[in-house]
């Protein structure tokens, strides 16, 4: 699904990604875990084609990121990146059109479906200005999934969500992977990490470990180690 080879990216003099090599298999959720500045958002923006690496190669669906394969990618940025004066329905409908859902009838059905899916039916006509941060996150997710993409790139999707909402997001993500959708999710919380099928630990743009959550914990040599302890273990080892 995704093949990343020796990718390096600089923001001016700041090294954001350093010789990163990684593969993401289809139908799995891959968590990008690391502190702020680890390179998680940069990697996601490269995968969606918003940034071009200075070195290395990226293949998504077997080809370099380009405008042609963005219709198969759902992107949820870290900022909610929505139109505040418009309602949830209008925002989702707008992005549905941008993703090429041309038939008015089909688009309307799909928009209503995703609005229900993110549990916002009762507030669907309220301007985003009047919605809470968690609700806006849900609208943002709805915009990313409205065109039913086989690949979802979600940049910190659970930031600012209450525990109940976080659980419902993860339930939905599990349903997506069960239906064959591939997820790449960035996060800096261990709570999110535990839900992923595979994890990548990133620090200052470098990959410090990769594996299943259980495998990474076991690699510390302590059966009862938490993911946080595993992360610290790999940092110290590097």
């Amino acid at each position: 699904m995704i093949a990343i080879e020796d990718v390096t990216f600089h923001f001016g003099k700041v090294l954001a990604l350093d010789n990163l090599t990684l593969k993401v298999l289809p139908g799995l959720s891959m968590g990008l875990l690391g502190p702020n500045g680890a390179g998680k958002s940069t990697l996601i923006r490269i995968l969606v084609g918003l940034l071009k690496p200075q070195r290395g190669s990226i293949h998504v669906f077997g080809e370099p990121p380009s405008i042609t394969n963005t219709s198969r990618i759902g992107y949820m940025p870290q900022l909610s990146a929505l139109y505040r004066e418009l309602s949830a329905m209008e925002n989702v409908d707008f992005f549905a059109r941008m993703y090429g859902l041309r038939s008015k009838q089909r688009r309307r059905e799909r928009v209503e479906e995703v609005i229900r899916l993110v549990n916002l039916w009762e507030r669907r006509n309220d301007p985003l200005l009047h919605l809470s941060g968690g609700m806006r996150q849900r609208v943002s997710l709805a915009c990313a999934i409205v065109h039913s993409p086989p690949l979802l790139l979600l940049d910190e999707p659970t930031v600012g969500l209450d525990p109940e909402l976080r659980v419902s997001f993860w339930e939905y993500f599990h349903k997506l992977t069960a239906s064959g959708v591939t997820l790449v999710i960035s996060s800096h919380t261990m709570d999110d990490a535990a839900h992923c099928d595979r994890l990548v630990f990133l620090r200052t743009g470098r990959l410090i470990a990769e594996g299943t959550p259980q495998g990474l914990c076991q690699a510390t040599g302590r059966a009862e180690a938490t993911l946080e302890e595993a992360f610290l273990y790999f940092i110290r080892r590097k």
């Binding site: 923006r45 918003l50 940034l51 940025p77 990146a81 139109y83 505040r84 418009l86 209008e90 993703y99």
Partner: protein, 230 residues
Amino acid sequence: MRQIIRDRRTLALLVVVPVVVMSLVGLSFTEESQILDSVAPALLATFAMFFVFILTGVSFLRERMEGTLERLLATPVGRTDVILGYLLGFLLFAALQATIILLFTIGVLKIHYAGALWEVFVFLMALTIGSVNLGIFVSTYARNEFQVMQFIPLVLAPQIFLSGIFLPVEEMPGYLQGLAKVLPLTHAVEGLREIMLHGKGLGDVITELAVLVVFAVIMLILAATTVRRV
């Protein structure tokens, strides 16, 4: 576009501010209506460019800062299409402002003009399109509203001083004349003067009109190339 329509305060300001400014101009020339007639073409061009630049520059900056532009660039819509979409959206409001300025100047300030009103309007729209593209292009270099505002003295003030509003271009030092002749506002002022003061038609100011069209196209190309996918 719908975003601005829903923001009623912004919409009201788009209409009220040009009216207030033009009223002040009219009041200051109450005793000198002949002078007002002669400076009206220059004022029309200057205020149209000024308001449209601010409207577009700040609105487009908001799209970038709030992440909606980046989100749009992650969809299958091409970069040029995105810019054209913004251009058409902003143009509607910019045209509204330019029309208010024009109608207020003619209908309320009662200036005397010689040429056809529709030709004045067409000429003003050419300037408006260029100003929208200029606003988009310049705002790609700003990171906040304060920086957009700093572009006013840098981009607009030289045009206002060199476009022949205060001193005829021919009376400026040679090197300034050269600079004045490449600025779009100089040609906009010149063209509007020819139509409004001397009753000329669009065919007579085709050179000035062509300069404004070329300026609009160059700004569009620059805007499309500088809208970083970042």
